[in-house]
Symmetry: C3
Subunit: 324 residues, 3 copies
């Protein structure tokens, strides 16, 4: 069973959000349209709507991530849900309880949604297959697989600035091989119709079969970003800098660091994105990260609107299913 | 002063919930009846009632327990209370503050209720004696003494399945000596009128004077569960498995592990309970824990309803006292 | 730019609350008057007002403090705000993110207020200078600089008991040199018109130029508290007891510990205060800390009302600014 099969109910509505791969373009567009409706909530004095009042959202973080957990936490609270923040690593294994038993217990507590972050690819899918029918799972990042809400918030940011996906040249730069963000971005942008999608990086950090996903591979940064409307830089994990895959952070910056000079090769109105946290002076120069073309902080803001949209769509369709 | 004296106000209403020992049957029945009214809340889309809006519940966990803390947290949130989760071990001792000073400070913050989990027997009682008159204490488990909400949720689970306590044969199997759950179960089930209550386990794990509590002691599992309507298995703590009291986990399972074969000795419609977390293959076989007779996950669900009932009863009587 | 400049908007309304130094007396009086209005909320059954519903308050604690965090948390919740509790030390540095990037991300999540606790003097001011115009900063204690809500809750406690600041003799006793509480107290009480303000302690713990703040220095406790209406004892940090500045905790208590005997030198109706947590038998004797003249626990209670007042004033003026 592919992730796509498990994600939609028999009316084609979102039931889990595990991966962007395989979802129909109409559904992605619906997420973006709903996020447009939630975006103004964050600008209001009362940043709260009563949509999910009395629902219970459990953040199950097997891998720590303050930033992602915080944005899911805020998204749920702004929808008026009750939130449980559980550091599963610390809690479940201490008493020798299995993951399955931990999940069944949370189900028995009548949670409505699990947001799952896990270092193992496929963990969110596995959990979605296991859980009771009244529980929905959102993947908050699983290993090197996908980080679908990040993929959608990136698409939302691009649409806000560039409107029509079908005319864009977009480059994804950096450690594509180890990046679930890159994978979700590629899936989303291909489905949404981006005609010229490129991945740029040293050969050691580009998966060999990536062109099967419909992208063009560049190992030269100048070539890769030339005339692009959007440049998405990826975080270089610190463990990668110390590995044999790369000579050094300094050398990486010389070859693949995004500088103001290099950005002149992109389209004049190009935007620069990054999923954060930024390694300044490694994958991106501060002048670019903080410059006029950067939309990096907008991505964070839009991330809450996109997560609100996904949660509301999923728990809304759950409610209808329950009423039926 | 016994726990019973401190628990009831002069109208006989629940003021603290420290121990089941000494409480009148009518009060236990009232808790069960109120829990019946709260149980449907968890099944609704909006799992929330406004009963304790604006009340402050502080979870004071001196001993970590994600599961118990989470169910109290959810119970309070579903009653619309504000919840403070405090890991007291970490916070108070660091600055050399005494327990008494920590409690007085929380009182001064105008909390309404402390849920106390502590490794020392009597800790919740001690705290209830110390606190200001406007604070109520719920014992979330103290040493080897009692875990009264667990006792009541077990009684609730049994009543849901077996209705009339006065016709039942019930066996409690395992490490009775170190189990506050067993102690609360015995108190609750004796008060509620169970005529045939048995404890089953190796002599090293059965307290010598336990028959004074009105139970029959068995050291043979087959004899102990024969014809029982309910079999409650207890968790075998890992430190016990390594102690001199037991030969090994493997041997324990051979003698006292609940298997499908053995369950055939119990009544045909017997239910199997466990307070969790389960040690599969130690005190219970997976085939039984996950089988048709198991109500282990229902216990978790009912636990929230029972905790909501106890919190609402206590803070409701507090409110009336305040209004008088 | 001084802290005072950054704290007020061009209408003279409170925008940040970083330090008491430089604020006008009318503003401090307004905080005290507003706190009077919030104080009854904590006595009610429903301890909640809807003033900050839908606002997001982030507690950024770079230095752990359960007590201060908890009172800010409760103050925000009783104003109906949503609260994020972030242990910044643990989260941001792990991934090598700079403080500035962490703050920008929290801004992008559309928080309304940061409560900042930091071990470095000036940190809250620095952050207030950096943040987006729609974010307000409250200093929850920065190094040895100020702890302005503590200063105001102390002033509130004094006013409740002694009404007119302009007739009072007040002694601040102990480690003034390392105490942000002492600094905020001195600022607040001078601005509010206390004519006789004294600091009392060993020469090694009194800053040399402190008399420039308008206080009289005493190194003899008996002289220092003679006829005082208020005696504020300061916590002696444990690291100080082990340092070369002091002979020993025992000797400190003999010279500067507040005992019942010594309190007879103060005015007969004098009150005793302490910011907590108390070192019993070091800076204060239990007979005094728990005695009839002690208002130490009232300080904790009033602290919530004062923090509610400050939060409501700041976010209220923000809302008006937003509406304009």
């Amino acid at each position: 069973m592919s992730a796509a099969d498990i994600q939609l109910d028999d009316q084609g509505r979102l039931r889990h959000f595990i991966a962007i791969e395989g979802l129909p373009r109409a559904l992605l567009t619906q997420i973006l349209d709903n996020a447009e409706r939630f975006a103004p909530v964050g600008d209001r004095t009362v940043k709260k709507v009563p949509l999910l009042r009395g629902r219970t959202v459990a953040n199950l973080f097997f891998e720590p991530s303050t930033r992602t957990r915080t944005t899911f936490d805020l998204a749920a609270k702004r929808l008026s849900a009750d939130v449980l923040n559980l550091n599963i690593e610390a809690s479940s294994t201490k008493k020798g309880e299995s993951l399955a038993d931990t999940l069944r217990n949370l189900e028995a507590m009548q949670c409505d949604m699990f947001v799952v972050r896990h270092q193992v690819s496929g963990a969110a899918h596995f959990i979605a297959q296991q859980v009771a029918p009244y529980i929905s799972v959102i993947n908050g990042g699983d290993g090197r697989h996908e980080h679908p809400t990040q993929g959608m918030l990136d698409a939302f940011t691009i649409r806000r600035h560039k409107q029509d996906f079908t005319r864009l040249k977009i480059a994804i730069v950096g450690d594509v091989a180890h990046s679930r963000v890159a994978r979700s971005n590629i899936q989303a942008l291909k489905i949404l119709g981006v005609p010229d999608l490129r991945v740029v990086g040293p050969k050691t950090l580009i998966p060999p079969a990536i062109d099967a996903m419909g992208v063009t591979v560049y190992d030269d940064l100048d070539e890769g970003i030339r005339d692009c409307d959007v440049v998405i830089t990826l975080r270089l994990q610190q463990e990668r800098m110390q590995s044999a895959l790369l000579p050094s952070a300094h050398e990486y910056f010389r070859e693949y660091g995004l500088t103001a000079d290099r950005m002149r090769l992109a389209a004049p109105d190009a935007i620069v994105m990054h999923p954060g946290p930024i390694n300044r002076g490694v994958e991106i120069d501060s002048a670019v990260a903080d410059g006029a073309q950067s939309v990096i902080l907008q991505q964070v803001t839009y991330g809450i609107a996109v997560r609100m949209a996904v949660m509301a769509m999923i728990l809304g369709s759950q409610a209808q299913a329950g009423a039926a």
